[in-house]
């Protein structure tokens, strides 16, 4: 090993990493800061007591009962009793409430007289989570109210109260959210967004260290340390980084499953392996970009563009199957997508490895393919040209 210049290369790289604060910030501080950001931002798991308004045009005992039902809901906080639709709409426009509930005039008499009044509710879908939750809360109130009216009437008509439930709700759907029965929002967002940031920073830092040599004009010296072998030069440069990324990745894995107790229904060992492979795959991806475009600005631009887009390919709500085919195809070039699929198959759903083995293998393809253009990179290293 020593004769190949590998040890010298590693020593040289460690000295380079220590010489600039950018390495400390980009490799350790930013990934950890973003991890802690997501963990603490969504620590509540589910938003509650959303500000809402009620417009009561009826002012009857029954309408007051409806208002009380809304007030009693855990999801909603009735901040305003608006006198009209327009006043409530103003509150939506100024962002003071996320939705409002309208009880029409003559509600009680119409309901009891069989003239079918309509309860209307409005939710501001401009805000995704609050809008959805408010809709859900209002819907429950509307259904409860409707059921309550029928129940009272039927009881007064002499129907056996025990039979009323079946009469009104012939079919009940019991929906089971598998692996996340608490509907914890953090379980979706935190792992995917944190790991996408982790992968993004690895790509950027790899570009910094590889293309930085071309910029500084030190790439020839770097290659000379490795006795002119590009493979030794790259391995000795990237291995010290890999170890730092693995340590950071291990810490993030601990934050997810040890500290935050995200569901771990599969194997923790494979999850750690996937994280390690993600780090290497992201390095390999950036290396490929640097070889194709050995110019710091271009390589940085491509990696940031790709890294930022991969947030959309992995996390949050929109499934890739629902994107346009051409865009969905791109998602398979993002290493973090494979990590996410291993996470949902292994940790979240606890499927046997058979079902996610291909995604693990996918992560291995990146480090194998990144050598294709290594010769091109070597050429650029021998004649470093910095294009600002």
């Amino acid at each position: 090993m020593a004769s190949l210049g590998f040890i010298d290369g590693v020593r040289r790289e460690i000295a380079r990493m220590g010489s600039r604060p950018a390495y400390l910030i980009g490799m350790i501080i930013i990934p950890l800061a973003v991890t802690l950001f997501f963990v603490s931002l969504l620590s509540e798991g589910l938003a509650q007591r959303l500000p809402t308004a009620v417009v009561d045009y009826d002012h009857s005992p029954m309408s007051r009962q409806v208002t009380r039902t809304i007030e009693a809901s855990q999801l909603m906080d009735v901040r305003y009793h608006a006198e009209s639709y327009d006043k409530a709409m103003e509150k939506v426009r100024s962002g003071e409430v996320f939705g409002f509930f309208v009880i029409p005039a003559n509600f009680e008499s119409d309901a009891l007289g069989g003239r079918t009044p309509t309860l209307e509710y409005f939710s501001n879908m401009t805000y995704f989570v609050p809008g959805t939750l408010v809709t859900k809360g209002f819907k429950t109130v509307a259904v409860t109210t409707s059921g309550g009216v029928v129940r009272n009437t039927l009881v007064s008509l002499g129907v056996d109260p025990e039979r009323i439930g079946g009469m009104l709700q012939p079919v009940v759907f019991d929906i089971n959210p598998l692996a996340n029965p608490w509907m914890n929002y953090s379980i979706y967002l935190t792992p995917s967004y944190t790991m996408a940031t982790y992968a993004l920073m690895i790509m950027l830092m790899t570009v910094l260290s590889v293309c930085g040599e071309i910029k500084d004009g030190t790439s020839r010296q770097w290659l000379a340390t490795a006795k002119g072998r590009i493979s030794v030069a790259l391995l000795s440069k990237l291995l010290p980084h890999t170890i730092v990324y693995w340590a950071v990745g291990l810490f993030i894995t601990w934050v997810f499953f040890g500290w935050q107790h995200f569901p771990m229904n599969g194997s923790l060992g494979w999850m750690i392996a996937a994280t390690f492979l993600l780090a290497v795959a992201s390095q390999a991806f950036a290396l490929f970009v640097c070889s194709a475009l050995p110019n710091p600005r271009m390589a940085f631009s491509v990696c940031s563009l790709f890294g930022v887009l991969s947030y959309s390919f992995t996390g949050f709500a929109m499934p890739v199957d629902n994107m346009y085919g051409a865009i969905a195809a791109f998602s398979w070039t993002a290493p973090v997508r494979y990590w996410f699929l291993v996470f949902s198959g292994n940790a979240l759903n606890g499927y046997p490895m058979y079902y996610w083995r291909l995604y693990m293998a996918g992560l291995l393809v990146f480090p194998m393919l990144c050598w294709v253009l290594a010769r091109r990179l070597k050429k650029a290293m021998l004649n470093p040209v910095y294009i600002p």
């Binding site: 603490s40 931002l41 100024s94 079918t116 509710y121 809008g131 509307a142 012939p170 759903n349």
Partner: protein, 409 residues
């Protein structure tokens, strides 16, 4: 000195800075990438990613343990829902679960053996639905599709039952229940994903691309100074206030066209919600652009190299998107993150713009974000001046050092 002359001198220095900055930007392809390509191309890429809007026809497996006319009726009604596509009928749960593990289906509907018996007896039949949870959107759509299905079934069956009980008079002719309910969605009426997320992203793109470009200009200037003994050969000598304002006006001018493009043309191009008036959202966004330009200059001392913004700023985009409260309400955040959100121009920009754009609000409805943006403009103007003074002091120190060392030689 005549105070009028002093003011005139300040303005002419500002004009020189403006012209010089514009020249620098035009001759720097890296900065042009941030200032031009990003606001032009990114909104299109993002909208294309999310443009399918709705999650439709999610594959579902059915395990029908009842195998009766009633249960087949339920499956038929479920498959009529736009959200649900019956991918397969499985003989047992194990098969259905395997399909789910293979990611062929994302939901399983299990109909119990006693389904038709319960319905026939006038009791509630319980159907179990399992939703795969790796994506939130699928679950949300399953819940609302099943709620609709339940209401539909209730309408059909309950009406029949109440009639059977001899109480038709109780029901009005056209409705099965005494109270109807009507759900209305404001702002994003189709509940589409692009319609919800793109207006916020547009504002964030304006802020982040401007910050990246300004930071790259600062890092490049720092490199030039390092090479030239503390002097930037492409710089202009001007008082800090004139320098900072000259640059800010230059950046804002460059962004005027892109702002119109991002906030007006992009929503039109993709048919996104676009209800607000341009006379409301353009004046609203002006202080955000000014505050962002000043914020970028305040960060200048941290940019040691041309490539620094890639390391320091790119990753902040996702943090700023979440901190703005677009997906997660701000009042439910930790005070620390709320405070950080308060000092980011895009937080207020997004808050005001989405209300103006999606809910047809006015600036008058959004006085709080509007005043915050002007407040941030003043705050960051002060920090930008301080940063500029710091940079100049560093320059002077380096210059005297260089002068000193050359004398010794």
């Amino acid at each position: 000195m005549n105070p009028f002359r002093k003011i005139a001198g300040g303005f002419s220095a500002m004009a020189r800075v403006f012209g010089n900055e514009l020249r620098t930007i035009i001759h720097d392809p890296g900065v042009l990438l941030f200032f031009v390509a990003l606001p032009l191309v990114y909104p299109i890429i993002y909208t294309l990613i999310y443009n399918e809007e709705l999650v439709r026809e999610i594959p579902v497996a059915v395990v029908d343990n009842s195998m009766t006319a009633e249960s087949r009726q339920l499956v038929r009604m479920a498959s009529a829902s736009p959200t649900i596509e019956i991918y397969a009928q499985c003989p047992n749960m194990a098969d259905a679960k395997r399909l789910m593990a293979e990611r062929k289906v994302f939901g399983i509907m299990e109909i119990p053996a006693n389904y038709s018996k319960e319905i026939g007896n006038g009791r509630s039949a319980h159907v179990t639905f399992y939703s795969e949870m790796s994506r939130l959107l699928r679950y949300r759509d399953f819940v609302s599709a099943l709620a609709d299905l339940q209401i539909e079934m209730t309408g059909e069956i309950a009406k029949q039952r109440i009639e059977n009980a001899g109480m038709e008079s109780f029901l009005s002719a056209e409705a099965s229940l005494p109270v109807r309910s009507q759900s209305n969605f404001l702002g994003d009426t189709q509940q589409g994903f692009a319609s919800f997320v793109i207006p916020g992203i547009l504002i964030l793109i304006l802020q982040q691309s401007m910050l990246l470009g300004i930071a790259m200009l600062a890092g490049t200037s720092r490199e030039r100074r390092r090479r030239n003994g503390g002097i930037d050969p492409l710089g202009v000598v001007a008082p800090p206030l004139a320098t900072v304002w000259g640059r800010t006006l230059c950046y804002t001018t460059v962004y005027a066209a892109f702002t119109l493009y991002d906030l007006h043309i992009v929503p039109l191009m993709f048919n996104l919600p676009h209800f607000g008036s341009a006379t409301e959202y353009l004046p609203f966004i002006l202080p955000m652009l000014l505050a962002t330009a000043f914020l970028g200059q305040s960060l200048a001392p941290f940019m040691r190299e041309r490539e620094s913004p890639f390391i320091l700023i790119v990753a902040t985009s996702v943090v700023f998107l979440f901190i703005s409260g677009l997906t997660w309400p701000r009042y439910a955040m930790m005070p620390l993150w709320r405070a950080l959100g308060d000092i980011i121009p895009a937080t207020w920009g997004i808050e005001g713009f989405v209300r103006i754009n999606n809910n047809a609000a006015t600036i008058a409805d959004n006085t709080r974000p509007y005043l915050w943006l002007w407040g941030l403009t003043v705050l960051y103007m002060c920090t930008a001046i301080a940063a500029q003074m710091l940079i100049e002091r560093r320059e002077n120190r380096k210059r005297t050092q260089c002068a000193g060392s050359s004398q010794v030689d």
